[in-house]
C-alpha cells in the first residue's frame, strides 16, 4: 500500500501538483487519470523519487519514503518495477538483454534460468519473436510491452506504469490490462497506472484518482465513475458521443435493466423500451457516488 499525504510540487513557480492525497492499495489496480499535461507523470515520478516533492509525505507500507536516505531508497527501489511513458529501453541492448538486465543485476541465477524467466515474461506480453532485436528495430507498442516485461521480471512489490497501453491496438491493450490485473492480484502488488484510455478505466479501474488542475478532483472505481455527477470528470471521460452512449448502456446494465451479455433484444422488444429515456431522467437525481 502506498499513501500520499498533501503532496505539493511546482516547477519554477508553476504549480503542477496541488495538495494531492491518496491511498493506493495492494492487490488492486490503482489508476491515475487526467488530461494530457495534468501531472500524472510528474506524480508518479515524485512517488518514486525521480522528482523531489516540495512538501507532503509518501508512505510505502508504513515507511516514509520522503525521509529515506539515498541508500535506503535504493534498497526500496529494488522492489519497484516501472514502465516509463517513453519505454526507456536500453538502446544498446537487445530486447532479451533489456528484460534480462534486472536479473543479471539482482539475482545469481544461472544463464538458463534467466533466459527461461525472460521468455516467460515476454510471452505474457505477447512478444516471443523479438528476443534478438534492438529497441530501434521494434514498434512503439512493442517497446511498451518490452518495458512492461522488464518492469515485472523481478516480481516487484510496487508496479508503476505510465500509460502502458498508449500506442497499442485495443486487442493488445486489453491483453496488457488483463495481464497487469492478473499479476497484481497474483502477487499482491501495489500497482499504479497512469492512463487516459477509457477501455482501461472500465476494465481495470478498481481505484481511480482523477487529476484536474493539479488537484485530486474525484476518487472512486469504474462502477462509480459511470454514475458520477462530477462535470469535469464526465467531460473528460465521456468525451465522445459514442462513449456517452456506452455510459448510458453501462448504467442500464449496472441497474439490471439490461443484462450483461450486451443482449439488446429484450430492451428493444420490450414495450417499455423507453426505459432508456426514463433512466436518463432518473440520472439527474442519482446521488453522486463521491
Amino acid at each position: 500500500m502506498i499513501e500520499l499525504k498533501n503532496i505539493y510540487k511546482a516547477f519554477d513557480d508553476k504549480e503542477i501538483l496541488n495538495d494531492i492525497s491518496a491511498v493506493f492499495e495492494s492487490g488492486k489496480t490503482n489508476l491515475i487519470i487526467g488530461t494530457s499535461g495534468s501531472g500524472k507523470t510528474v506524480l508518479q515520478k515524485c512517488m518514486v523519487g525521480l522528482f523531489e516533492v516540495d512538501s507532503g509525505e509518501i508512505i510505502y507500507d508504513g515507511k516514509p519514503f520522503t525521509l529515506m536516505t539515498q541508500e535506503e531508497r535504493k534498497i526500496l527501489r529494488q522492489q519497484i518495477g516501472m514502465l516509463f511513458q517513453g519505454s526507456a529501453l536500453f538502446d544498446s541492448k537487445t530486447v532479451q538483454a533489456n528484460v534480462k538486465f534486472p536479473l543479471d543485476m539482482f539475482t545469481n541465477w544461472d544463464h538458463n534460468k534467466k533466459i527461461k524467466r525472460v521468455n516467460e515474461v515476454l510471452d505474457r506480453v505477447n512478444l516471443n519473436d523479438s528476443n534478438k532485436k534492438f529497441p530501434a528495430e521494434i514498434s512503439g507498442g512493442m517497446k511498451k510491452r518490452v518495458g512492461i516485461a522488464r518492469a515485472i521480471v523481478l516480481n516487484p512489490k510496487y508496479l508503476f506504469c505510465d500509460e502502458p497501453n498508449s500506442g497499442l491496438d485495443p486487442q493488445t491493450s486489453l491483453v496488457i490490462d488483463i495481464l497487469i490485473r492478473e499479476i497484481t492480484l497474483e502477487y499482491n502488488i501495489t500497482t499504479i497506472i497512469n492512463t487516459h484510455d477509457m477501455n482501461s478505466v472500465m476494465e481495470i479501474g478498481q481505484n481511480i484518482l482523477y487529476l484536474y488542475d493539479g488537484k485530486n478532483e474525484w476518487v472512486g472505481n469504474n462502477k462509480q465513475i459511470i454514475f458520477s455527477k462530477n462535470d469535469k470528470l464526465n467531460k473528460f471521460i465521456f468525451a465522445s458521443e459514442f462513449l456517452r452512449d456506452a455510459k448510458d448502456m453501462r448504467m442500464l446494465e449496472e441497474k439490471g435493466i439490461i443484462d450483461n451479455d450486451r443482449n439488446m433484444e429484450d430492451v428493444i422488444s420490450d414495450p417499455e423500451s423507453n426505459l432508456l429515456m426514463k433512466d436518463n431522467e432518473k440520472r439527474e437525481h442519482h446521488p453522486d457516488s463521491e
Binding site: K74, R77, I80, G86, A88, F90, D91, F106
Partner: protein, 245 residues
C-alpha cells in the same frame, strides 16, 4: 558564481560514484566493455596521429639542424624527447578529448534524455557508479597505454622520415635514440597521461550525465565537454610542467 555551482556539482558526481557496487560482476563487465570502447576504439586514430607527428617532427628538426657543429644523431634525441614529453601525451590526449569525450558525453546524454538513467535508478542501481565509474577507470587504464603506444609509434615514424630525407641513416637514428636518455621523462609523460585520462573521462561524463532538455542539448553538452576538457588539458599540461620539471 556559476563556476562554483558547476564545480560543486562535478565534485558531487565524483563523490556519488564511490559506493559499493550492487553486483560486482556486472560492474566488471561494464568496465571491460568501456575498455574496449575507449581503448580499442581509439587505437587506429592514435596510431595514425602519432606516426605522422613523429615523422613531421623529424622532418622539421632536420630542416632546422643546419649547424654543422651539431651531430646528426641529435635529430633522434630531439624527436624522442619532443614525442615523449609533449606530443604523445598532450597532442594525443587533445585528440582523444574529442574522440572519447564526445562519445562519453553523447552516450550519457542520450541515456539521460531517453530516461534510461532514470530507469536504472528505479531498479535500485546507483547510476553514478554504474555508468560513470567504469568509464573513468577504463580511461585511466587504457589512455596511458595508448600514450605509450603513441610514443613508440611516433619515434618509429620519425625513424622512417629521417631515413627518407636521407639526412641521417636509420642506424645513426637508432644510436641517437639511446644517447642522453632520461628515464624521468617517461614517468613525466605517464603522469600527464593519467591526469589527462581523468579529465577526458570525468568532464564529458559530468556534462553528459547532467543533460537537461532534448536531443539538441546532447550536442551542446558534448561540445562544451570537449572544449572544457581541451582547455583543462592544456592548463594541466602547463601546471604539471611547472611543478614536476
Amino acid at each position: 558564481m556559476k563556476f562554483f555551482t558547476t564545480f560543486g556539482a562535478y565534485l558531487l558526481l565524483l563523490k556519488g560514484m564511490l559506493t559499493k557496487p550492487e553486483n560486482f560482476k556486472m560492474y566488471w563487465k561494464e568496465l571491460m566493455h568501456q575498455c574496449v570502447e575507449i581503448g580499442i576504439g581509439s587505437l587506429p586514430i592514435v596510431a595514425i596521429i602519432s606516426l605522422f607527428m613523429g615523422a613531421v617532427s623529424a622532418a622539421q628538426t632536420a630542416y632546422q639542424l643546419t649547424n654543422p657543429l651539431v651531430s646528426k644523431s641529435a635529430l633522434a634525441q630531439v624527436v624522442r624527447d619532443t614525442v615523449i614529453l609533449e606530443f604523445a601525451p598532450t597532442l594525443v590526449c587533445i585528440v582523444l578529448a574529442g574522440v572519447v569525450g564526445s562519445k562519453i558525453a553523447g552516450e550519457l546524454g542520450n541515456m539521460r534524455i531517453s530516461e534510461q538513467i532514470d530507469a536504472l535508478e528505479i531498479m535500485g542501481i546507483n547510476t553514478k557508479s554504474y555508468l560513470v565509474m567504469p568509464k573513468i577507470l577504463a580511461a585511466l587504464i587504457t589512455i596511458p597505454l595508448l600514450v605509450v603506444i603513441a610514443a613508440v609509434v611516433g619515434i618509429w615514424g620519425g625513424r622512417i622520415a629521417a631515413g627518407m630525407t636521407g639526412i641521417i641513416s636509420t642506424d645513426d637514428y637508432d644510436k641517437g635514440l639511446l644517447e642522453n636518455f632520461i628515464v624521468f621523462n617517461v614517468w613525466f609523460a605517464l603522469a600527464k597521461a593519467y591526469t589527462f585520462a581523468f579529465i577526458i573521462s570525468s568532464i564529458p561524463a559530468f556534462y553528459g550525465y547532467n543533460v537537461k532538455g532534448g536531443a539538441l542539448e546532447i550536442g551542446r553538452a558534448s561540445t562544451t565537454a570537449v572544449v572544457t576538457s581541451c582547455i583543462l588539458i592544456l592548463f594541466a599540461d602547463y601546471a604539471l610542467a611547472a611543478i614536476l620539471l
